[in-house]
Symmetry: C2
């Protein structure tokens, strides 16, 4: 079996994800926000490339059924209910709602994945939950790809380190040979370098520093809360829902 | 000043290289081959995207003036004088000659760099020579970019590790603040992981393993010979020549 890490390549080569389980990582902040929203009872999250699509789609819902959310250049979008700060997605605000969501990097990465067997949304706050799914896939002989959304199509440190954490844990209890691509090996080295010191990771990362400078320090703290929101967000039929026994409650 | 590492982005954003000194790294094997050819007295090397351009251009030279060189899928191109094995570029074969050169990754990366102040070709075999140039640039206040050619537009471990070696050495004796992008930080972590163990680096790297399997083990040994070919190959006016006092001999 293979574990490949993909560093924000656009367009994504179809062969890199075909018939695989693909984890899309955008730690700061889209993946984290999605996990928090689902953990707090959002019915589903629909990702869009553009804000115009969000607005257009919102017209097919009753106003009370939906929440419009997203950011451009880290800031909330005019007229939307939320930005991309995970702390905004409280149970009071999202329970039972459909969240229409557009962010600069994370949602675009999701929409770009075509032909995968399953697509899950991964971050530190739901790390172990997603790990279970990826491990199950590998043990069943399904290759795994971990797609780092990156920032403006550039390599981003925090996504690569999070990918490396998945690679390390997946290798640990996996019998038999596992093939790693070069990016997976590099991610492992990064993960070894930062370990659990996510505060240092986010301080070193350009996007972490930019968020701190823009006043989003609290988001960084939340995004570093390992396993605080143990959900498995699955992207299927153009929407993200929570996998598992709690799905139907 | 800034040191940015760029992981094989295509197309290359012009802002990432404008007015900078750019080092193009394709350790396996184009950058190494270029250093060896110039060290062995090649007059100049002209990189081309396509083999057709090589053949067309060769017609404007006397046959004895030129050497046609390059690879596709690691193998020599039919009708060319050399492949991309650096050991082929002996003094007997290249001294005083113009080398018309097309490789899958390295030459494309060179041709893609537009608007840089200076472009140099970097590898392990001419590491310290290129380092001097980059350090001089930084001390003069010029930003540096290190472009990892990668393999088929994918991240490649050996180029990133070589870039990390440049970053580490540049930081060591640089006064004042140096800004690093995320890829530069990741490259540093990689470099720390491999250090001088280039044999292990090439064994871990997908392209290194592919070359070994294709019978090019000796090339890997040569590509790991740190500072064995201490030249500074400069790409200017669409050709690569050797910088320095030996240029005119």
């Amino acid at each position: 079996v293979r574990i490949d890490v993909l560093f924000g390549a656009h367009p994504l080569p179809a062969a890199d994800v075909a018939n695989r389980v693909v984890a899309v990582v955008d730690v700061l902040r889209a993946s984290t926000t999605i996990a928090v929203a689902l953990a707090n009872g959002a019915r589903n999250i629909i990702p869009f490339d553009s804000t115009e699509e969000v607005i257009l789609r919102s017209k097919s819902f009753e106003r009370r059924e939906v929440r419009l959310a997203g950011e451009r250049r880290m800031l909330p979008i005019s007229g939307f209910d939320f930005g991309n700060s995970p702390a905004e997605f409280t149970r009071e605000m999202v329970e039972g709602k459909t969240v229409l969501f557009s962010t600069t990097n994370g949602t675009g990465a999701l929409v770009a994945v075509q032909g995968a067997r399953d697509v899950v949304v991964a971050s530190y706050v739901n790390f172990s939950a997603v790990l279970v799914l990826l491990r199950t896939a590998l043990r069943g002989g399904t290759d795994v790809a971990i797609l780092c959304a990156g920032r403006d199509r550039q390599f981003s440190l925090e996504d690569a380190a999070c990918a490396g954490r998945f690679v390390r844990h997946l290798l640990r209890r996996q019998g038999g040979e596992v093939l790693l691509n070069d990016a997976a090996r590099a991610a492992l080295h990064l993960e070894r370098g930062y370990g659990d010191d996510l505060a240092r990771l986010f301080t070193d990362a350009a996007h972490g520093r930019a968020l701190a400078e823009a006043g989003f320090e609290d988001d960084l703290t939340l995004c570093a809360q390992l396993d605080a929101y143990p959900v498995i967000p699955v992207y299927h039929d153009r929407q993200i829902t929570k996998l598992g026994p709690e799905r139907e409650r």
